[in-house]
Amino acid sequence: MTTTPANVEVSAAAAAPTRPPLGARLRGRQNQNLWFWVFVGPFVLGLIIFIYIPILWSIYLSFFESYNTVTPTKFVGIGNYLDMLKDESFRSSLGTFIVFALFIVPTTFALSLLTAILVARTRVMQAFFRSVFFLPTACSYVVAALIWKMSIFSGVRSGAANALLGLIGLDSIPWLSVTKPPWYWLVIVSARLWLQVGFYMILFLAALQRISPTLYEAAAIDGASAWQSFRYITLPQLRPTSAAVLLLLLINAFQAFDEFYNILSSFGTYPPYARPPLVYLYYVALGQGQDFGHGSAGAVILTLVILIAALVFNRFFSFRGDD
């Protein structure tokens, strides 16, 4: 009992002048912390409210029976997950889109790289070509989908594609109405390529312009062929960009919605073919369905599929022995 309250007060008072007040400490040197939160705060808040809470809420909902409510009471464990995995339509849409991704990712990749190289090499009107290929990126998916559906690939003679067929004396093809042969893929894939290639081309173009010309000069002196410089200089130099592009394309493929929905849906229904998982989930959980339990479970499954695909891809592509 040698230390009296008075003593403590005295020692605290003695220490005080050496430490800045709490407020000042929180604000950091030159108010750094304050400014950090002023700038970052609103975005973090938005991220939490509009992204993280909905994700967590959706995971929560996926364990409940929640028809027409987001505050469910009946816990069903993994029942919704089992239902979705047993659901033939959901499985087939996942399957279709794994195949779709395997096709569209390399195709878009190759086409954007090709256009980028062509545009980079061209000596005349480079700015013009660059803009022309990039412009479709600025077009709305919905608008493009409607033009593809109603003007270019309508089933009657007045549609652009059928008018062309007419010129060479062929019958009209109802592009979007038949499943054998599956012409609808032609419509969807051409729309998607038109919309996307330009964007990835710009990414490649930026990367191409950062490759030092001295590398090519050195290769030319060594007598390297065009193919050799592409294979041993361009491709390796594009590696980080290629990895990013492939990953974006992969995620994009699984998130397909806009052009599929607008090209193929008809008055409240969507055909069972070429049905992206997101479109199927839209009909389950939104629309008239309002079955948030199964919808959320499906969304979580889809997220896991994308995650696994991305991890596998990373393993095989990005970290393939750093040569």
Partner: protein
């Protein structure tokens, strides 16, 4: 799917025919739209503060939602009806776009409407989820005057959940001159229809138009009706695992492969243009196209019900928007009063709403003879068909999940040529589980 066809048809048509500017203006209005909820509480609660004790006390404010009808003047009309109501202050919200989705979602929140319309009444999940209020008794003595098929469709568990506003219908329309030229009479049976479609097809002009998907989305229900079947039986059991129904659905596949169907028209079945621009000789479409048909073809068109299969019956599909009251409303009684006033008592307004703007049939039989638009030509025939052959689009127990399974089945049968009975069996499994869930 089919549950939505009439409504969705109207929506699409309106969306497509409306000027973009008007749609944008509507969207902006909807975005800035006050739901009326806050003002309803303040109006009801601040009565004491205002002190200007007007005789009846403070009026409550009701928020009423409509989907966007395309016909000019409809919005002004419903706003006029709302203004004419004196017992409450009714605010009308006109919602373009995905009305069903927005409304269903808004019922989960406190920002939804007090009174709203919904196609064929509320969904079974809304009823089971306690989102809508029982409206039994509001029809009073007039009950027998309302279209019985629609009242039945909006009744569940012995209670009425919505009041039919106007009746819409779908039927088969044909161009008289093209049929005469080919020596074809309007078909009475499905086989007649298929023969006629073939005969009327020449080059780029096709015989029959059932939608750009070949009837996958539209014709499932009429085909079931033509075979005397339905989605579900009265007792909720599965309604179409019969040979007759399978044969009827198989006929659509035959049509699809016969090269006599119009596929991929620029505007789909809900628009008159395929018929008026000469792409097809016959088309299954809605009554709402009649003004456009008259404009484009004058009197060169006629209409008939969808033909029957052997042992079945002819049919026209009828549907109606029903006026519902949200259970989340803070003024449920006032909302019910208003619904009764507008859709039961005010017959002049109902007649005006049905006939002065769009082309509909009044929901009350006693008003049909007063509807000038329905007194001559094909429209008169159509109104008579609605009485004689009218068949509600679907059962209230036919949930969206059933509709999705049904749509998948139709696509596989019609487009892929899948085995009809095997596909029906798949839908049966889904439907039986769904009915059990809903009733359980």
């Amino acid at each position: 799917m089919s549950d939505k066809t009439i409504r969705a048809g109207i929506d699409r048509r309106h969306l497509l025919t409306l000027g973009g500017g008007m749609a944008v203006a509507g969207a902006l209005a909807a975005c800035g739209g006050n739901t009326g909820r806050s003002s309803s509480t303040s109006a009801a609660g601040s009565g004491s503060g205002s002190g200007s004790a007007s005789g009846g006390g403070a009026k409550v404010t009701l928020q009423q939602w409509y989907h966007q009808y395309g016909e000019a003047g409809t919005q002004q009309a419903v706003e006029g009806y709302a203004k004419a109501y004196t017992a409450a202050d009714v605010k009308v919200t006109w919602k373009p776009g995905d009305y069903d989705q927005t409304t269903a979602a808004s019922l989960l929140t406190a920002g939804g409407p007090d009174v709203f319309e919904y196609g064929n009444g509320p969904t079974i999940d809304m009823i089971k989820g306690g989102q809508v209020v029982d409206l039994s008794g509001l029809l009073g003595d007039a009950e027998s005057d309302f279209n019985p098929a629609m009242v039945k469709r909006m009744t569940y568990d012995g209670k009425l959940w919505a009041i039919p506003q106007v009746v819409d219908m779908q039927l088969l329309v044909y161009r008289k001159s093209l049929l005469e030229k080919a020596g074809v009479t309007p078909p009475e049976t499905i086989d007649d229809l298929m023969a006629a479609a073939k005969k009327l097809t020449s080059g780029d002009v096709k015989g029959l138009f059932l939608g750009n998907d070949g009837g996958v989305g539209l014709m499932g229900a009429p085909m079931l009706f033509s075979a005397g079947a339905d989605y579900l039986n009265e007792d909720g059991s599965f309604g179409f695992d019969s040979d007759g129904a399978a044969a009827a659905l198989g006929k659509l596949r035959e049509l699809f492969t016969s090269d006599s169907l119009l596929l991929g028209a620029p505007k789909d079945w809900y628009d008159a243009s395929a018929l008026t621009s000469g792409l097809t000789a016959m088309q299954f479409t809605g009554l709402w196209t009649f003004p456009d048909l008259t404009k484009g073809l004058a009197d060169d068109y006629g209409c008939i019900p969808w033909p029957a299969m052997p042992g079945g019956a002819k049919s026209v599909v009828v549907g109606a928007y029903g006026s519902c009251v949200s259970a989340k409303s803070t003024n449920v009684d006032a909302a019910k009063e208003f619904v009764k006033w507008l859709w039961v008592d005010q017959t002049d307004k109902q007649l005006d709403f049905a006939t002065a703007y769009g082309f509909h049939i009044p929901a009350r039989a006693s008003l049909v003879p007063q509807a000038k638009t329905l007194q001559s030509g094909p429209a008169k025939d159509a109104a008579a068909y609605a009485q004689e052959f009218g068949h509600a689009q679907s059962s209230v127990l036919w949930t969206p999940k059933c509709a999705t399974a049904f749509g998948d089945m139709m696509s596989k049968i019609v487009k892929d040529g899948a085995d009809v009975k095997a596909e029906i069996a798949k839908v049966k499994a889904v439907a039986e589980a769904e009915v059990k869930r809903v009733l359980g």
